[in-house]
Amino acid sequence: MVNSAEKKLIEVLTKVLLLEESEISDELSRDDVEEWDSLAHLMLINELEETFQITINDDDILAIHTIGDLKKVLKKLGVNI
């Protein structure tokens, strides 16, 4: 089962990075996704901050390299995924 927070995360990921839902995995990294450039990275962060009403630490923003990294940060901030 996918909960509503996960649904939202998937929507943001697919729309910002032009991915199919089936392509999304924890291992998927910035090197694999052509669309994941620096503008897209900031867009991703900004959308997630707004969607989940959180503020992501700027060191974390730089350290996020894979979808798994991103999820870890979100979990740390109490997002239920």
Binding site: V12, K15, N46, E47, E50, I61
Partner: protein, 621 residues
């Protein structure tokens, strides 16, 4: 929108494009704009055959990250039916892009250039801390420096490109270190920027290429604090917040639409619950809400707003289900009506289908459905027009009349890049035309009708006040145009500066119903013994009144005075200028030459002349 195509691939690209845009239309979030922009970028649209007129090339030069604006402009242009290409200059390299003759900017060959430079990029970094210590002279010198810096860049830019240029002004800060004393010192921080903005506006007021974009006013409207998002500013040098972006893009689109002639010219209005509150047929003359109570006052204000549009040249028309006599009585006699019969270019008050009425209005006014806006409180009527006539812009009128004004004010579809005297008086002219038609019905013969008009014709040589209008007629007139030769304003000026070789006439008509303005142009090329009529044209709204005969008679008169022997008329047939085809023949010219492209006609001035029609009074210019 698309040219016909045999290639199947085109249709699928086209429908894919539309599917992507539909998502944005339904849910216009930044996330969806982002997604649509990036997906469209990946499509190969080069196979689409696109009308040149629908293409637009926009360049963005900025001192900050302006990519998000490119997203909005791209998608908004597509929603408006255009095919944009957008160039985003490298981050904060706008001076290099402008100064380097070989820059990507110039190679991109834009139609529109947006220059968005933040004050921080020009002022030294300690400007704010030092500001309270600066003398008035220091501040004035700084202002001059900033204005000269920008105008220097712009004169280079205007010498290199014909593109329309939008220069952002500066957002005057809402904060001042001087606090409540900001406008008590010789020049406060806010005034410092407001005065720069004023200087920029003054500098480019008369400029035909550069428009100062009032980002300060726009930020005030949106709320200056909300117009910037500091997270995104510090992380990525973004200046426009997510909520401000669509506001900025919408304002820019006003210019894009004006540039691409996507301009709406006529507002078609329902009556009940649009111009007044309540249903006239039920509440009666004294029962409708207009003035007086809060709701009635909102309707009066809405009419005042419409009148302001009318006074800048937007036509107003009525499309209403009502009894004609009852409705006209309100329009003519209700003490609180702001708009009166003379403000409406055309009226359809009946019980017929509103889509049919729209078609008739478009026909009567001679303007396309794509120039019309429809305002109606009934969602059913709005849907009917949307379905039947998708070219018409249907306003989503809010439920409450208190919000009517705002709904109309937020449209960016009435813009033109220039406004002529003729544009401003357009509504008046259409009313006069309607009255003329009514008069014609009461007269037995055309001659009797023309006599009763009391026409006065004023024929003058072109001068610097009339040349813009003359140029616009030269380039817009298709039907009664003998040669359809197009000339730029510079070319017209050049000819007018050589009266030994050329004579340019303008013709202005006034009659008992009003002033039509300049409606005719003739260009004479002078040779030793003959005058050649290089161009002869009349606006279609005065055709049928024999004014062209009066115009020709005046040219003959002048030619004779100058001892000219022959007047030569030229006729170049086109698909559209049939109405002019027998002009020279009808006026006694003999054909002396004809090939596939052109025919020449001669009038021997020793033997013949052209009589001034007796119903036209000449006024010497």
């Amino acid at each position: 929108m698309f040219m016909s195509s045999q290639n199947k691939g085109e249709t699928s690209d086209e429908s894919l494009l539309n599917r992507i845009l539909d998502i944005v239309r339904k849910e216009p979030t930044y996330l969806n704009y982002w997604n649509a922009y990036r997906r469209i970028k990946k499509l190969d649209l080069s196979r689409l055959q696109v009308d040149e007129k629908k293409k637009v090339r926009i360049a963005l030069l900025s001192s900050f990250t302006i990519d998000p604006l490119a997203i909005y402009l791209d998608i908004e242009s597509r929603i408006a039916g255009l095919y944009p290409e957008i160039y985003v200059g490298p981050f904060n390299q706008y001076p290099q892009e402008i100064l380097n003759d070989e820059s990507k900017l110039y190679r991109f060959n834009p139609d529109l250039i947006i220059i968005a430079v933040h004050a921080d990029a020009i002022l030294e970094e300690n400007f704010l801390p030092r500001f309270p210590t600066l003398s008035e002279d220091d501040k004035k010198n700084l202002q001059v420096e900033i204005v000269e810096y920008l105008s220097g860049l712009l004169s280079k830019l205007t010498s290199k490109t014909k593109a329309l240029i939008l220069l952002n002004n500066f957002v005057a800060p809402w904060f001042s270190p001087l606090g409540i004393l900001d406008n008590k010192v010789n020049m406060g921080l806010r005034e410092f920027f407001q005065k720069i903005n004023q200087k920029l506006a003054d500098l480019y007021r008369e400029n035909k290429q550069v428009y100062v974009f009032d980002i300060d006013g726009l930020a005030s409207m949106h709320g200056k604090i909300r117009s910037i998002d500091y997270e995104m500013y510090y992380r990525g040098a973004f200046f426009f917040s997510k909520s401000f972006l669509p506001v900025v893009a919408r304002e820019y689109m006003g210019y894009v639409k004006a540039l691409k002639n996507l301009t709406r010219k006529c507002i078609v209005l329902d009556l009940d619950n649009v111009l007044w509150g309540g249903i006239l047929g039920e509440e009666g003359f004294h029962g409708i809400k207009l003035g007086g109570d809060p709701v009635g006052r909102a309707y009066v204000d809405f009419q005042r707003l419409l009148l302001s549009y009318y006074n800048r040249g937007i036509l107003l028309a009525i499309n209403s289900k009502n009894n004609l006599d009852e409705a006209m009585k309100v329009i003519q006699e209700h003490p609180n009506m702001v708009l009166r019969e003379k403000n409406f270019a055309a009226i359809r008050i009946n019980w017929r289908d509103k889509a049919e009425n729209m078609l008739e209005l478009s026909d009567e006014l001679g303007i396309g459905l794509d120039s019309m806006v429809f305002v109606d409180d009934s969602p059913q009527e709005r849907e009917r027009i949307r379905q039947a006539l998708p070219e018409v812009l249907v306003v989503d009128l809010p439920q409450s009349p208190f919000r009517y004004c705002q709904a109309l004010q937020s449209l960016n579809d009435f813009n033109t890049l220039v406004l002529s005297e003729e544009d401003i008086r357009r509504g008046e002219m259409y009313y006069a035309r309607r009255k003329r038609k009514q008069l014609m019905k009461t007269k037995k013969t055309l001659e009797e009708f023309l006599k009763s008009l009391n026409m006065t014709v004023e024929i003058k040589y072109a001068n610097r006040y009339t040349i813009p209008r003359i140029t616009s007629l030269i380039n817009r007139t298709n039907q009664f145009n003998l040669t359809t030769r197009r000339y730029t304003q510079a070319e017209v000026e050049e000819m007018s500066n050589h009266p030994d070789k050329f004579q340019i006439y303008s013709l202005r008509v006034t009659d008992r119903f009003g002033d039509e303005g300049i409606v005719g142009v003739a260009i004479i090329r002078k040779e030793r013994e003959k005058w050649i009529i290089d161009s002869f044209l009349m606006s279609c709204r005065v055709i049928g009144r024999k004014i062209e005969t009066a115009f020709l008679a005046k040219i003959v008169e002048d030619a004779k005075k100058n001892g000219v022997l022959y007047l030569i008329g030229e006729h170049i047939p086109t698909k559209k200028n049939k109405p002019a085809s027998s002009f020279y023949k009808d006026h006694g010219f003999e054909k002396i030459y004809e090939d596939k492209k052109i025919s020449r006609w001669r009038l021997n001035l020793k033997e013949s002349t052209i009589k001034m029609p007796e119903w036209v009074k000449m006024k010497d210019g």
